[in-house]
Symmetry: C2
Subunit: 191 residues, 2 copies
DNA sequence: TTGACAAACTAACACTATTAGTTTTATACT
DNA sequence: AGTATAAAACTAATAGTGTTAGTTTGTCAA
């Protein structure tokens, strides 16, 4: 009966689709198997366990994210690039909620594997900061500041912690944050 | 045999202790019951479900957090208060990892209840920004920026995303971020 | 045609939370 | 003191996770 021809790729693709649709950072193997027309344990013929599946999806998510960011900033430099990066970052996180959540839930301090995989993401930030002629150390610091702002915003927004003043424009808050960051950066390089 | 005398308070206290010890944002009812010397279903005589338990712990966590922040900033104003707030925030998050994670995982956009409970936390930030004589709208924006930075830092750090340049001092990155924020704030009020 | 391997399956286990129904224990009243 | 009642413990069971072992099925190559 097996017209199935299940593969690792099909599983990953399906998992990503479900994650995208639900906005959750994970799928249950049951749901995954069900939508693939197969019984749950059959998945184990193609994947080792949920951890491995997570890794695979994580890899795809990082890829998508990196592509998204590069596309948004290509041809741009300095402030223009930073601004475009910030906007694209927010757009990705809100339009790919499940994948973004996955990216921001997987790695943990002990997981060297995941940290390795996340490096390209980090590079996208470092790259656009390279235009400013900062020292290696300064780049390290400001890259952290930038990413903290970007993720902090998404995260707080997502958690509903920006709800209280909800009639106050969120996009403007983000712009203020990015401007604040750029001003700080300009001050660092002595404008 | 019941020398137990289990109460809701004891359950919550125990749950918090486990959360503090493990650094996880949740406890299983099994583990909770085990350490209380009772069978799992017995917990249901005192709590409705895990959701309710989460709420209760959440409430305590917010309380602890708010107390921590007030203590750190009392008697201080403006930049001094902001700086102390930032330091205390980071200290709380790293020393109470489980509780901080809980605070930053519970509320979701749809959960009005949780958002209500989190308001005191928000107030601590708004209060220290009130010293600057900003408009209501500016406070709303800058409070968001500040919290995004603070949480963004903790979160990225916790996820291991600040690992790449790990030989570069994290505390200094945080100081740069806070200074960046303060400079932005000063620019806003025309210094 | 048959032998081998991949990929599906069934059955089972361990771990979650949760509910129903039962027994125990302590308290409160006659 | 003896008994009724209610609170709080229990046991047993269910449904949902992930996972493993062992079995069947189907395909492809010798």
């Amino acid at each position: 009966m097996s017209v199935k021809g299940l593969t690792k790729e099909k599983i990953i693709t399906q998992a990503i689709e479900i994650i995208e649709n639900t906005g959750q950072s994970a799928v249950s193997l049951h749901e995954l198997a069900r939508t693939l027309g197969v019984k749950t344990p059959s998945l184990y013929n193609h994947i080792k366990n949920t951890k491995e599946l997570q890794y695979e999806i994580f890899k795809c998510a990082i890829d998508k994210f990196v592509i998204n960011q590069r596309k948004a900033t290509e041809g741009k430099t300095k402030d223009e690039a930073v601004q475009a990066f910030a906007e694209a970052y927010h757009a990705f996180a809100t339009q790919n909620k499940g994948l973004y959540r996955l990216i921001m839930s997987i790695p943990s301090e002990q997981d060297e594997m995941a940290k390795e995989m996340a490096i390209p993401l980090l590079h996208t930030v470092v790259e656009i900061l390279s235009d400013y002629g900062l020292t290696e150390e300064s780049i390290a610091h400001w890259q952290r500041v930038f990413r903290a702002i970007l993720h902090g915003f998404i995260s707080e927004e997502d958690l509903g912690y920006f709800y209280y003043y909800k009639y106050i424009d969120l996009a403007k808050s983000r712009q203020i944050a990015v401007k604040c960051f750029l001003d700080g950066l300009h001050a660092e390089i002595g404008e």
